[in-house]
């Protein structure tokens, strides 16, 4: 039990980097980016292949990040310059990346078992908190720079920030790039932690990222950027703990996980709007009852 919880925290920390990437597109740019499913595996593939060829795992992780940046830039270009619908440009890149990832890996999976990884000398549980917090703080800082502000405004009110001279095409491409860079970095670290990269390792990653973002915001709030990124990190860890607990239920199979994740996201997306409409209805009912009593009193009184 305890060991599975520790494992969950470990995975949650590594996947938190991916969740931060999803936060950038989904929440800041308001752009549901499906590239993630491809770029996560791209990161893993770059890491596994280069590490098995003896390159430094730190350098390799950095290159995986760069690979993700490039993938994200392509999606951004398709969407802004090619004027392709956001979802579709993500799907197109996801499919394209499948072939590219296969070229990188050269076979469906590559093992780095026994090779030197970033986790060889330091356990993930010790290393990852520092890495994750550092990335979170750097991201927070970036989102408060002039460039970061215009990136946030692009998702919030693109017309407004254009009228102040920011090129929203560029900020969109930048945001999607950084997002996929983080996703690929996360993929590279997962490959090193699990000891292999697999062509299918990115499948469903976008939904896991969304689940982390939504769970985190629901539990820990999202008032400021600082708070929201923190919530995303914790959301990723909570998600992994939920998964670990779900796997302990006897009649559940590991392959049911994706279904559970989808259900979590659906509940999290539907619940707030249902809650709002119920609240509005009951408020309206109360108010009309109030007005009705007021009107009936007046007519009974009749002292005009």
């Amino acid at each position: 039990m305890v060991s599975s919880l520790i494992g969950a925290v470990e995975l949650g920390l590594i996947y938190a980097i991916m969740a931060l990437g999803v936060y950038i597109t989904f929440r800041i740019l308001d752009f549901p980016d499906l590239t993630v499913d491809g770029s996560f595996a791209t990161g893993g593939a770059i890491a596994a292949v280069m590490i098995s060829h003896g390159y430094s795992p730190w350098l390799v992780s950095l290159l995986a990040f760069a690979g993700g940046l490039a993938a994200g830039a392509c999606t951004g270009l398709l969407h802004t310059k090619g004027k392709i619908n956001g979802l579709l440009s993500g799907i197109l890149m996801m499919i394209a990346l499948y072939s590219i990832n296969m070229r990188i890996l050269d076979k469906p999976n590559v093992s780095v078992y026994g090779e030197d990884t970033v986790f060889t000398s330091i356990s993930p549980l010790v290393l990852m908190p520092f890495v994750v917090i550092a990335i979170k703080l750097l991201l927070d800082l970036f989102l408060h720079t002039d460039l970061g502000l215009s990136l946030r405004a692009t998702g919030d009110n693109a017309r407004m920030i254009r009228s102040f001279g920011a090129n929203t095409d560029n900020t969109t491409i930048l945001g999607i790039s950084i997002s996929n860079g983080l996703v690929a970095l996360s993929g590279a670290l997962i490959a090193q932690q699990s000891g292999f990269a697999d062509i299918t390792m990115g499948v469903g990653m976008i939904v896991i990222g969304l689940a982390s973002v939504i769970i985190g915001e629901a539990i820990f709030g999202a008032g400021s950027v600082f708070r929201a990124t923190f919530a995303v990190l914790l959301g990723s860890i909570v998600y992994r703990i939920v998964v670990a607990l779900a796997l302990r239920v006897e009649w559940m199979e590991a392959s049911d996980l994706k279904l559970i994740t989808a259900v979590i996201v659906i509940i999290a997306l539907v619940f707030p709007s249902v809650q709002r409409s119920i609240k509005q209805k009951s408020a309206a009912r109360r108010r009309s009852a109030e007005l009705a009593t007021l009107a009936s009193k007046k007519s009974i009184g009749g002292d005009y």
Binding site: D146, G148, L149, S163, A166
Partner: protein
């Protein structure tokens, strides 16, 4: 300062829905000019604004700012010279960002947006000073999200953001139309003060005839994509709403109709 030469714009050309938005429009503004624009529905007022700001490209004709040909420049590049306040109070600000962050983005107009921190303490005190001039207490709410402000407050903030970097041209697109009369009057007063103080070259579309006569040093009336009346400063001083309505009927042969038209206060 601003020159429009033979600008025409068609919507849906060659189709059943073809509509002339602007037809051979000539307009020349001198530095410091404050022109008010009135006209009926579909007269081309908004299209004129969109063509100047670069949201739309004209089919023919050219647009120059300060003798520069800006025809090929997209909206975000023209923004370095053009400040704009929209009709919709939601349009000019980013609702999920704070007042100071919005101001910082406006302050970066015409500058390269790099990796320096957006809101510094030096900028913050400058923002506070600027907000103070609005006189509606926003200076004490720098860290409030703009989405929490009322329509009037947001429009006042939009006006400040559009002007405090002294753009060469200020475009006001019915920016008081969505507000209640008291708020509209406040924003009108602020507009007058800011334009006068900073000597901004301003083009203001309004549906309020009385306001169009009271503000500015020149008035143009549009109809069916053309400028049909151009009133200079001298004539404008003695102009009345009745005269204006009469002029319109005489020129266009029908009554001025705009579902939002306000004749006076």
């Amino acid at each position: 300062m601003l020159d429009l030469r033979n600008v025409s714009k068609l919507f849906n050309p060659g189709t059943f829905d073809e509509k002339v938005a602007l037809m051979d429009v000539q307009l020349s503004m001198k530095p410091g000019d404050f022109i008010t624009v009135i006209g009926s529905n579909g007269a081309g007022k908004s299209t004129l604004m969109n063509i100047i700001s670069g949201v739309m490209k004209p089919d023919t004709g050219e647009v120059r700012i300060d003798h520069r040909d800006i025809q090929q420049l997209p909206e975000f590049k023209r923004s370095q010279w053009i400040g704009r306040v929209f009709q919709d109070p939601m349009a000019g600000t980013a609702p999920h960002m704070t007042i100071e962050e919005n101001l910082a983005m406006a302050y970066a107009r015409g500058k390269r947006r790099g990796l320096s921190i957006g809101v510094t303490s030096r900028k913050r005190s400058m923002f506070r000073e600027q907000l103070n001039r609005l006189g509606i207490g926003l200076e004490d709410r720098l860290r409030a999200k703009v989405g929490l402000l009322s329509g009037g407050e947001r429009q006042a903030l939009s006006l400040l953001m559009a002007t405090f970097t002294r753009p060469q041209i200020l475009l006001l697109d019915e920016h008081t139309a969505a507000l209640d009369p008291a708020r509209a009057e406040l924003i009108t007063k602020l507009t007058q003060d800011i334009v006068q103080e900073m000597k901004l070259t301003t083009l203001m579309v309004t549906h309020n005839m009385e306001q169009a006569i009271r503000l500015g040093n020149r008035l143009i009336m549009m109809d069916k994509g053309r400028i049909i009346l151009d009133v200079n400063e001298e004539r404008k001083k003695n102009l009345t709403v009745e005269q204006l309505l009469g002029e319109f009927e005489q020129i266009s042969g029908r009554k001025l109709a705009d579902d939002r038209m306000v004749l006076g206060l």
